[in-house]
C-alpha cells in the first residue's frame, strides 16, 4: 500500500516540476498560466490522492477530498480573473515570429 502511495506522490511531483519548468521557460502571461493550471489540475490531484492512500480510510480522507474539490473550484476562477484583467488591460498575447 505504501508503495502505491509513493508512486502516486512521485508522479504528482513530476507534474509539479514540469509546471515549474514551464513557468520559467514559456514566453508570456497567457502561456505561463497554462503551466500553472497543469499544476493545479493534475499535479496536486495525484499528490493528494497519494497522501489519501497513505493515510488509509478515515475522516481525513474526506477532508482531503474537500480540499481537492476546493482547489478544483477556485483555481480556474483565479486564473480566469487574472487573465481577464490582463486582456482588459490591453496585453497582447505572444506570437511566434513569422517564418
Amino acid at each position: 500500500m505504501e508503495m502505491l502511495a509513493v508512486i502516486f506522490i512521485v508522479a504528482g511531483l513530476f507534474f509539479l516540476i514540469v509546471a515549474a519548468i514551464g513557468v520559467i521557460r514559456l514566453p508570456d502571461v497567457f502561456t505561463r498560466s497554462h503551466a500553472v493550471s497543469l499544476t493545479d489540475s493534475l499535479g496536486a490531484v495525484l499528490l493528494l490522492i497519494g497522501i489519501a492512500i497513505y493515510e488509509g480510510l478515515s475522516l481525513n480522507v474526506l477532508k482531503l477530498f474537500a480540499v481537492l474539490s476546493l482547489l478544483y473550484l477556485q483555481n480556474p476562477v483565479i486564473t480566469h480573473a487574472t487573465l481577464r484583467a490582463a486582456v482588459r488591460a490591453g496585453l497582447k498575447p505572444w506570437k511566434e515570429k513569422a517564418p
Binding site: E2, V6, I9, L13, L16, I17, A19, A20, I21, V23, I24, V29, R32, S33, V36, T39, D40, A44, L47, L48, I51, Y54, E55, L59, N60, K63, L64, A66, V67, L70, L71, Q74, N75, V77, I78, T79, A81, T82, L83, R84, A85, A86, R88, A89, G90, L91
Partner: protein, 88 residues
C-alpha cells in the same frame, strides 16, 4: 517513510523558489500575480505534507483549507483592482 516526506518537502520548497523567480523577475504585474497563485497552491500541499511529518494531519488540513479560502479572496481582489486600474 518520514525521510521520503521530508524529501517531498524539499522538492516543493525548490519549486517555490522557481515560482519566486517569476514573481521577482516577471515583466508584467500579471506574471507576478500568477506566480503568487502558484506559490499558494504549493503552500497548501506543503501544509498537508508537514501535517503527515508531524503526525497531526487533521489539524493541518484545516489550516490548509483556511489558507485556500483566504487565497481565493485575495487573488480575486487583486485581479479586480488590476482590472480597474489597467496596465501600470
Amino acid at each position: 517513510m518520514t525521510t521520503f516526506f521530508l524529501g517531498v518537502l524539499l522538492v516543493l520548497a525548490a519549486l517555490i523558489g522557481a515560482y519566486l523567480f517569476r514573481v521577482l523577475q516577471g515583466p508584467t504585474i500579471f506574471d507576478r500575480v500568477l506566480g503568487l497563485n502558484g506559490i499558494s497552491t504549493k503552500a497548501i500541499i506543503m501544509l498537508i505534507v508537514i501535517g503527515i511529518v508531524f503526525d497531526r494531519v487533521e489539524m493541518f488540513i484545516d489550516i490548509s483549507t483556511g489558507y485556500a479560502l483566504l487565497n481565493l479572496v485575495g487573488a480575486l481582489a487583486v485581479a479586480k483592482y488590476l482590472e480597474q486600474k489597467g496596465l501600470p
